[in-house]
Symmetry: C2
Subunit: 242 residues, 2 copies
């Protein structure tokens, strides 16, 4: 399985991804699911992937080939982030169609975010069908893969005015809730923070399996949640029964 | 959709259920998904249901008929809680087989918990196939329906030694996380607390849509989580990158 999220707040973008892949529960591997592309001062992109690994690797390889060969449409010549999302959607659809059999479709989902000079800084989720949706003021994050365990904390914390540092921290807690409950989502955990308007490579960090910081964050958050729980008022059993 | 959970701690059992049902997003209704049966001083049962409403209603109706008609096997003559779970599984399977078509199975899942004099106080989840699993010391809760949003808080808080009051509070927070993220899970919220060894009807409460207590709990928990979040240490960007 996979868990990736993209957050779009006033200060910029946050991306997080796990690195565990599996073809059956007895075939677990580690692959990065996050890839950054860019031209400093001109454009910066981050792509996160979920779904069939053959499809996502083929799409990312094609993205690189298209840049190298200066294809008619490639990440280094699209004008807007929506064009980038549409381009990734087309590559994904073409790759899925190439490998589909009557019984199986090797589908994939992508998060595509970044900024191009002269256009808006944005984040999109690209569906297996090639179409895509964007974050919105009321909905500053998008998730792919195993999305449910990590959604409540994002729902509680994130608004468009959350700081980049807090958004990154929230992404880590969302990942923590997911890795606790679904063993097929796991480290290394990659985190990327992009400052809106900078057009420079963002801050990147890869938390390995035995990361001391992640261990501390986990235990400190667990402790905080338990303390907060202990302070809650008791249940009011006088509520009107129906 | 549905969300129900059963918690088995040293002091007793907690059951929680929502009351929203839907046949398509444009056909939403309210039905109780929790039913209690018992003979004071001798046996107490609580059943929660998820899945096809025709199936779950038929099963509960049969449970009542079997008690009334003193059927060979009924909830008032089984010896152990596992026999009760097995009986519910048989009724469910028979009902599903009766209504199944080549294209559709009207499946259902149940939580069955309680205590019978002379036997252990237990909680089970009964699968659509009629087989069932129990809670365990390492795993004091079972969930049916929309289980994922509400699992992280249970994972963090519940152990076999959690008090009944805390387990009930945790069940409410788990329900809160679920109703926030999935609109097809909703109030009234029913909560039932059974004291191990009492063999008496437990404490029951039904929180209606505009319950002031639930509203306060929600806002107070949200505030606590945000405060706990604000106290977390900043991300350590010095972690070794891979």
């Amino acid at each position: 399985m996979t868990y990736c999220a993209a957050i779009n707040v006033a200060e910029g973008l946050v991306f997080i991804s796990d690195s565990r892949t599996n073809a059956g529960i007895d075939n677990i591997s580690t692959y990065s699911k996050m890839k950054a592309f860019g031209v400093p001062g001109e454009r910066q992109f981050v792509i996160c992937c979920a779904g069939n690994l053959a499809t996502t690797q083929a799409v990312l390889a094609q993205v690189e080939r298209d840049i190298e060969e200066q294809a008619e449409v490639n990440l280094f010549n699209v004008k807007r982030m929506a064009d980038a999302a549409s381009y990734i959607g087309s590559l994904s659809l073409a790759e899925q169609n190439r490998s589909a059999t009557p019984d199986a479709v090797f589908s994939a989902t992508f998060l595509v975010g970044g900024e191009i000079a002269g256009a808006r800084c944005r984040a999109f989720m690209v569906y297996p069908e090639g179409n895509f949706i964007s974050t919105a003021k009321q909905n500053p994050f998008l998730q792919i893969g195993e999305t449910k365990y990590g959604k409540p904390i994002m729902d509680r914390i994130l608004t468009e005015n959350t700081s980049l540092d807090d958004a990154a921290l929230c992404a880590l807690l969302s990942m923590d809730a997911t890795t606790r409950s679904n063993l097929s989502v796991g480290p290394p955990i990659e985190l990327y923070v992009y400052h809106r308007g900078s057009l420079q490579v963002g801050k990147y960090i890869c938390f390995v399996e035995d990361s001391e910081y992640l261990r501390q964050l986990r235990s400190s958050w667990n402790e905080s949640v338990r303390e907060a729980f202990a302070r809650l008022p008791n249940i009011s059993w006088t509520e009107t029964n129906q």
